[in-house]
């Protein structure tokens, strides 16, 4: 009988090495507050700003593609606009888990992407919108004041990928013309939102980097760094409890790809792949060609074996996602699709446990007495 290694044995084996290789730790000395400051400066001041620039550029290009397409609609233009949507969504999905500061101010993350939409608000409002075709929704400034469900990426996904909307826009019939104008307004509004994010980030990053006893927001660098740890932890939790658990449902019969994120664009799993890139940057300090290895939360971990093990485990999970098709629907269509997705959920949960135990414990950012076990 040939032993076929599963993700569980691969992931556990590295943890076992760690458990065997490490002696039981004694009481650890507190990490000095000044050790957290370089991590904040690197992640918030060096790594994130170019990514926000990238996001802003991607949304600007998206709105330009939309305008070009709508000026003379054809199949090639539609495909180019869809490709621009994917490019902007890729970088958004990397930024999305960094839920802090300007990202969550004024409901900005919800305006960029209103999801999950538990009550089907967007679909209901979209139907009404197509019936009434109000001119206000073709004006980016007025759209910015509209329901979050009718702004941002999910609304754009509806315009670009749902039903026969593409054909309608190419045909330039009454619905198609409205969809084109509405889609252009959404893309333009996304450019405005990403521009605000880009503009507001430096002040937030400076406040975090200058954390100290006089600050009523961030009284220590350690406290500020806790927001980064939480983003890493909660980002993984959101992948397992929402992005995977929602389409998986209660059992195989209950599974629905439509409950996933970005189902019409067929990229629910591609989103997770990009989430993992942005989340890993928090730990490692590198994000594509930006940043420097070992300057994220890893800089606080004085244990190279644990660091190597964590990275190896993360790589295993990233490879698993990269090997899957981009859409949940495609995976569920496979005979073992439900098991494959359930397995991925298990891997993400395992990573979450490593973050709680290894990263949270060794960086001393895992939470206090009341935060972890209050009543």
């Amino acid at each position: 009988m040939i032993f076929k290694p599963s993700w569980r044995s691969l992931l556990l084996s590295t943890t076992t090495v760690l458990a065997v290789g490490l002696s039981a730790p004694g009481a650890k000395a507190d990490i000095p507050d000044e050790s957290y400051q370089p991590v904040l400066a690197h992640l918030l001041g060096t790594v994130m700003p170019p990514k926000l620039d990238e996001f802003h550029t991607a949304t600007e290009e998206l709105s330009e593609e939309f305008r070009d397409f709508c000026s003379d609609p054809d199949n090639g233009g539609l495909e180019d606009t869809q490709a621009a949507y994917h490019a902007a969504m890729d970088i958004w999905q990397e930024i999305q888990p960094w839920r802090m500061g300007p990202l969550v101010a004024n409901g900005r993350d919800q305006h960029i992407e209103y999801w999950p939409d538990k009550h089907g608000t967007a679909a209901r409002q979209f139907r009404k919108l197509m019936f009434d075709k109000p001119a206000a929704y073709t004006d980016p400034e007025q759209l910015a004041g509209a329901s979050a469900a009718l702004q941002g990426f999910p609304a754009l996904e509806e315009v670009l990928f749902a039903d026969d909307h593409g054909d309608q826009m190419i045909a330039a019939d009454e619905d198609g013309v409205f969809l084109c104008q509405y889609g252009t307004a959404i893309a333009t509004n996304l450019g405005t939102l990403s521009g605000e994010l880009q503009a507001e980030w430096p002040e937030f990053a400076t406040a975090m980097e200058n954390a100290g006893p006089d600050s009523m927001d961030y009284p220590s660098a350690k406290f500020a760094a806790t927001d980064l740890y939480r983003a890493l932890h909660e980002g993984l939790l959101i992948i397992s409890t929402q992005k995977l658990a929602r389409p998986l449902g209660e059992n195989a019969e209950d599974a629905r790809a439509s409950r996933g994120e970005s189902p019409l664009a067929g990229r629910s799993l591609r989103n997770i792949e990009h989430n993992l890139i942005g989340l890993f940057a928090i730990y490692d300090g590198t994000w594509g060609d930006v940043g420097e290895e070992g300057k994220g939360l890893a800089a606080l971990i004085d244990n190279s074996l644990l660091d190597r093990s964590f990275k190896l485990n993360w790589q295993t999970v990233s490879d698993t996602v990269a090997d899957l098709p981009p859409s949940v629907a495609e995976v569920l269509d496979q005979s073992d699709g439900y098991a494959t997705l359930s397995d991925l959920k298990g891997q993400i949960e395992f990573l979450t446990m490593l973050v709680e135990n290894d990263v949270g414990g060794n960086t001393q950012l895992g939470g206090g007495f009341n935060a972890l076990d209050g009543d």
Binding site: R108, F223, I238, G368
Partner: protein
């Protein structure tokens, strides 16, 4: 005559220097600040699963530590008496009556076999009766037990809390009614006594009962969409307004209110902080406290590491102050001022009006993890 003057100055504690002080300071010196004599009392923990009721003064200096058999939660203060009640947090089995000056154990309360204490207790204004929230776990029903302090703390009655998972309770300003936060969560000691067993069907509420008969007088719940908001902690202003803090049992990204205002007889009014603060509250409120004037209330959010302050007259968000792992909150005698404690050992004086946070100067209180709630005793 000279003898009288010397004695007067001695009583003032300022000796001959008194006559050299400017008039304003001299007047201040003759009127000791009541806060200087205040005592703060809270459940606490050491580093090795050791638990206490601990008291410190206005400077943060530890006055006593009384070991507990398990983790405490809140402290009930008996009016005009030395007794304070420390009831074990859920699923609690013990309650201790302690001397507020020394921590000495004066009486012990034992939870019936088919009940569990839920960490909160409150006395009647005359100090005779102690009321404790409990779980009747076999029937998924909350109860309020009544103990007669003048009869050796005998358990004399039990009322329905009119909900599941009752948590904090308070006396209403008339002294005749109790308001109870029924958190809605069913737990059972066979399943560790803390894991929620009914999140999908939980129905939290606020209930007001007559303290002598247990009769339900008012009850209010949030709309069904928000049924996963466990209503856990509350405080009552002198005008009868109730402020409540919620703990959300749903998804991290759900946008839900975490604070509610209730005027009995009307609906619970949910209120929210600006997005960037609301997000940092991390779906979880720890304790609720009105200030001395009743015009401001504070709500601690230990998971987010901040304390939020709210205008009790307009119900608007006022400000927030970062407080890492901060949870315990007690009002000082000054408007808008609170003392807060942290699970990391810190103690702060916080001014919600001027948005200021100052560490208590004596470091002795930093040796402990301060638990969920803090009470102030005016000596």
């Amino acid at each position: 005559m000279e003898y009288q003057r010397r004695n007067f100055l001695k009583l003032m504690g300022v000796g001959g220097a008194f006559t050299l002080l400017p008039l304003g300071l001299a007047r201040a010196a003759t009127t000791p600040n009541p806060e200087d004599r205040a005592v703060y009392i809270s459940a606490s923990a050491g580093e090795h699963d050791d638990y206490y009721v601990s008291a410190f003064n206005a400077s943060g200096k530890i006055l006593f530590e009384q070991a507990l058999p398990g983790r405490g939660h809140d402290i009930g203060l008996r009016p005009n008496h030395v007794d304070v009640a420390a009831v074990e947090r859920r699923p609690g089995l013990y309650g201790l009556i302690l001397d507020r000056h020394t921590g000495e154990v004066r009486a012990k309360l034992h939870c019936p076999q088919d009940r569990r204490f839920y960490g909160h207790a409150i006395y009647s204004n005359d100090g005779r009766y102690l009321y404790i929230t409990e779980n009747d776990f076999d029937h998924a029903r909350g109860v309020v037990s009544v103990w007669d302090a003048e009869d050796g703390y005998r358990r004399v009655a039990e009322f329905d809390s009119f909900g599941t998972g009752p948590h904090e309770l308070h006396l209403m300003p008339d002294g005749e009614h109790l308001v109870i936060a029924n958190g809605g969560l069913h737990t059972h000691p066979d399943q560790d006594g803390r894991t929620p067993l009914n999140i999908s069907s939980m129905e939290p509420n606020l209930s007001i009962i007559e303290r002598r008969t247990g009769k339900l007088v008012h009850q209010a719940a949030l709309k069904h969409d928000w049924h996963k908001l466990s209503i856990r902690h509350l405080d009552v202003a002198a005008n009868g307004m109730i402020a409540a803090g919620f703990q959300y049992q749903g998804d991290l990204t759900d946008q839900v209110p975490l604070v509610g205002i209730w005027q009995p007889g009307s609906e619970i009014r949910p209120i929210e902080a600006p997005d960037n603060v609301q997000y940092r509250m991390r779906q979880y409120c720890g304790s609720v406290r009105f200030d001395a004037s009743g015009q401001v209330f504070g709500i601690s959010c230990p998971r987010g590491g901040l304390v939020t302050f709210w205008d009790a007259q307009t119900n608007d968000f006022l400000t927030h102050i970062a407080a890492p792992d901060g949870c315990g909150l007690a009002a000082t005698n000054q408007s808008g001022e609170f003392v807060g404690t942290s699970g990391l050992g810190n103690g702060w004086r916080m001014d919600a009006i001027r948005r200021k946070r100052v560490e208590l100067p004596d470091d002795s209180h930093k040796s402990l993890h301060w638990d969920n709630h803090l009470r102030r005793i005016q000596a």
